[in-house]
């Protein structure tokens, strides 16, 4: 891996996140004004203090004007970025590298998505003119193929697998239930989740991420400047992006039980951050649980569980908020909702709250006070044709 990393050279000094929900009464401009206002206040700066902006949105607007117009930014460099579901993380990555380079002193990453104006359920990609031979399968169906493949490889029965996936959804619902910013605020029992009708492979709608509007943002400076703004900065330990070449879809050796792009980005991130035992060192992880089987496989690809063992640890509660390594303590995509361009920054927002002790007691992670590192992970695309982003953030 050719990345040198920017460990401890850049710090997040302020963050914000709207509630993720069906914002029928808010458009992109409203969401952007809400989230940037909260973030400026968090960092104690104004829009004029920020030297450069990166806006992540998958398909809610084009160009930097999408941010510059509602905020009335005066002649600032504003860049719109898009990288599938890692779009928000990509915005932060660009902003962090910009301040690390010295080109700017203060940069802001904003992620936003307005998905509920399409008139259809789910996420609907804007069609790029093509030859008509592209797959028309939904993401849910593509990821549904992971569950039986995993079950076969590791000898998990269909019934056990159904329970494991429901256990993941139930955990994330329980976390979302106590999080006022989450889309779904209701606990769901494993029994209820197992009884839901299948819509894609063996997956029910409750195995799928919530579809919500929302925005999240962060302001970054070089680490040596962080204490001018806050006593509790969040240091960037690692940023890794790996984009596959899509060959998994065409490769007869690919078996749908792992996402090699994710494993590669995890290895890169751990190397940048100097982490050798992720499960033993991380205080929490926010992973891209777009579908419940995705979270299961991610636990192994991110080295939070041994190959073939994640399903047992899920059942044992290892990744619950009060477990050994809380995963998706804010509710995850499943329960917090998934406005594509905002999700990566939303994950970092949870690390910002939890590691700095700002998460209220009723939803504080078990590791608070004993560990100081968080992992956030985004993926975009499908099994076999994927990109993956991993960040490591820390307070120490």
């Amino acid at each position: 891996m050719g990345s040198n990393g920017i460990k401890d050279r850049v710090a997040i000094i302020g963050m914000g996140c709207t509630r993720f929900t069906e914002h029928w009464d808010k458009g992109v401009d409203d969401l952007l004004l809400d989230v940037t206002g909260e973030t400026f206040a968090s960092a104690g700066v104004t829009k004029d203090d920020v030297d450069a902006y990166w806006l992540g949105t998958a398909q809610s607007g084009m160009s930097g004007l999408t941010l510059a117009k509602p905020l009335r930014l005066g002649d600032k460099p504003v860049t719109r970025v898009e990288n599938y579901c890692a779009t928000g993380s990509e915005a932060l990555r660009q902003a962090a590298y910009a301040v690390a380079s010295g080109a700017y002193d203060i940069a802001m990453a904003v992620g936003v998505e307005k998905v509920k104006d399409s008139g259809y359920q789910g996420l609907n990609a804007f069609p790029i003119p093509n030859d008509g031979t592209q797959r028309t399968l939904t993401a849910a169906a593509m990821f549904s193929m992971v569950a039986p493949a995993y079950a076969r490889r590791y000898g998990v029965s269909d019934g056990e697998m159904r329970t494991v996936l429901a256990r993941i959804a139930s955990k994330n619902h329980a976390n979302g239930a106590v999080n006022p910013r989450a889309q779904f605020r209701k606990e769901m029992s494993v029994e209820r989740l197992c009884a839901m009708p299948a819509v894609a492979g063996g997956l029910s709608v409750f195995d799928c991420a919530g579809v919500a509007d929302g925005a999240a943002a962060a302001i970054v400076v070089r680490a040596e400047d962080a204490h001018r703004y806050t006593d509790k900065p969040l240091l960037i330990k690692a940023l890794s992006l790996v984009v596959g070449d899509g060959s998994g879809l065409m490769d007869p050796a690919y078996d749908y039980t792992t996402f090699p792009e994710v494993a590669a980005s995890a290895r890169d991130a751990y190397a940048q951050a100097g982490i050798t035992s992720p499960a033993g060192e991380l205080a929490m992880a926010e992973v891209h649980d777009c579908f419940t089987p995705t979270e299961l496989v991610l636990l192994e690809d991110l080295e939070l569980a041994e190959r073939g063992s994640a399903w047992k640890q899920v059942l044992a509660g290892a990744f619950d908020r009060d477990g050994e390594l809380p995963v998706n303590p804010d509710g995850g995509l499943k329960s917090f909702g998934h406005p594509v361009g905002a999700s990566g920054l939303r994950m970092m927002f949870e690390a910002w709250l939890q590691l700095r002790g700002e998460a209220p007691a009723e939803r504080r992670i078990s590791t608070y006070g004993s560990r100081s590192l968080a992992l956030t992970h985004n993926l975009g695309g499908y099994p076999g044709e994927m990109l993956s982003f991993v960040s490591i953030l820390g307070t120490a």
């Binding site: 028309t136 193929m145 492979g201 879809l249």
Partner: protein, 464 residues
């Protein structure tokens, strides 16, 4: 000497039990079953299937392609060019439509017998009518292809030994372009005209061949007027046990495809050498072709016989049939309708989109779709594969949900996630064998989006 070098017949997988019709409409129906094209099939895709079967067994490459149908997916734009692309014929092989009536099909066939090069004549039709009407019940969907050439092109399976043609203008049935159902004049009028024309044309053709009705081994009478066809056969002087079964009980009248389909069926059913097969086609006149089977026919075994296809097939409900034909508007999936495919992108990628051609790199990896970095083109349309894993998508857009999708590993290398078709959800299994099939995925803005799906290899259809 010219004759038939190869044939292929294709029957779609679905069958409608005619008894299901009056249960809904209160009228119509009848006994037996008719074939039904899937929602993703049209005359072009049916034609591709039949033509591919014919070419599998062909001793020579076609040097011209004629495509006949009464139900062309496009007007103004040639439909035969999609067949040409799917069959990966050389660009110097001309491809033409002969559309409009059953007569177009026999016209193309006559032209092929008169030509100087091997000619592939493909005829395909989807026949129907208004719900509960006689055309709906009597009709069928299917396709047949005949490769016509000279004995210098390869062994002839049957030689042409005589023909005749009578043309006459009269109105028996008609349909304005775009209408879904034909209208008919009083049946007795057409019966009278066709019986006279058919009888006379048959006499002329037998005279031309220098034989009498007692020499005929099999008499095939095709045409949309069923009573007239029976009357011509009854008056022909050919013994009743030599009158070919019109497949009314199992297929229905497949319109423009009926002449070649019934002829193929006769060649396949009784491959005895030296047998006289006479084809009479009643359509705005009468055309007769007299053929004599050869020694080569006795040793010819079609790769995809019709017999296997007649024996297989799965039921389709009448409601589903009506929905597929656009006669019963059903609630669409609540997903965005797909955008029309880009014409220029489709043209650039035509080898992939129409021909299902992948690529192989120096390292041996087969890529689907092909990569511009790879040197070797690899046609995949005739390659079978195995289902590695699959999923049923009840959320994705489809003209007939749910979408069944499978990851296919092709024999000899190459993997592609493909939509399955002609399959019921509960019969899909890992390890199942499938083959590529050319289909119409959807139509948007009047543009038919053709591409390849996969369908189960059904053992009885395909001989080892």
């Amino acid at each position: 000497m010219r004759g038939i070098l190869a044939w292929g017949g294709y029957l779609p997988h679905r069958r409608l039990d005619r008894r299901a019709i009056p249960a809904l409409t209160g009228t119509g129906g009848g006994a037996g079953r008719r074939t039904v094209a899937s929602y993703d099939e049209d005359a072009t895709t049916l034609g591709v299937a039949a033509a591919a079967y014919a070419l599998q067994d062909a001793p020579a490459e076609p040097r011209a392609l004629w495509f006949a149908t009464t139900d062309p997916p496009y007007a103004d734009k040639t439909n035969a060019t999609a067949l040409h692309a799917a069959l990966r014929l050389d660009r110097a092989v001309p491809a033409y439509d002969a559309v409009g009536s059953v007569r177009s099909a026999v016209g193309a066939l006559r032209a092929a017998f008169d030509a100087a090069v091997p000619v592939l004549v493909v005829a395909a039709d989807l026949r129907g009518g208004l719900p509960g009407g006689p055309d709906e019940a009597a009709g069928g969907d299917g396709a047949a292809a005949l490769l016509i050439g000279a004995d210098t092109d390869g062994p002839l399976l049957a030689e042409i030994v005589g023909s005749s043609s009578l043309t006459e203008e009269f109105l028996d049935r008609w349909r304005a372009p775009g209408e879904g159902a034909s209208r008919l004049w009083e049946e007795r009028f057409g019966e009278a005209r066709y019986t006279e024309l058919g009888t006379e044309a048959l006499k002329l053709a037998l005279e031309a061949a220098g034989i009498g009705p007692e020499d005929v081994g099999s008499l095939v009478v095709a045409g949309l007027h069923g009573r007239a066809a029976r009357a011509v056969a009854a008056r022909s002087g050919v013994p009743a046990d030599r009158i070919a079964d019109p497949l009314a009980a199992t297929v229905g009248n497949v319109g423009a495809a009926q002449p070649a389909l019934l002829l193929s069926r006769e060649l396949e059913e009784t491959p005895d050498p030296g047998r006289i097969i006479v084809l009479v086609v009643l359509s705005d006149g009468a055309d007769v072709l007299v053929l004599r089977t050869t020694q080569a026919l006795a040793g010819h075994r079609p790769t995809r016989p019709l017999a296997g296809q007649l024996d297989t097939g799965a039921a389709v409900g009448y409601g589903t049939y009506l929905a597929w034909r656009g006669l019963l508007p059903v609630e669409p999936p609540r997903r965005p309708e797909p955008a029309r495919p880009s014409s220029s992108a489709a043209h650039r990628n035509r080898d992939w989109k129409f021909g299902f051609v992948g690529s192989r790199a120096d390292d041996g990896m087969l890529r689907l779709p092909p990569s511009p970095l790879d040197g070797t083109a690899v046609p995949m349309s005739g390659t079978t594969g195995t289902i590695v894993t699959f999923t049923v998508d009840r959320l994705a857009y489809s003209p007939s949900p749910p979408v069944v999708f499978a990851v296919i590993d092709f024999d000899g290398g190459g993997r592609l996630p493909m939509e399955l078709t002609d399959v019921d959800v509960d019969e899909v299994r890992i390890g199942g064998r499938v083959e590529p099939t050319f289909r119409r995925l959807f139509t948007a803005d009047g543009v038919h989006n053709y591409f390849w799906k996969a369908r189960p290899v059904r053992a009885p259809e395909r001989e080892a």
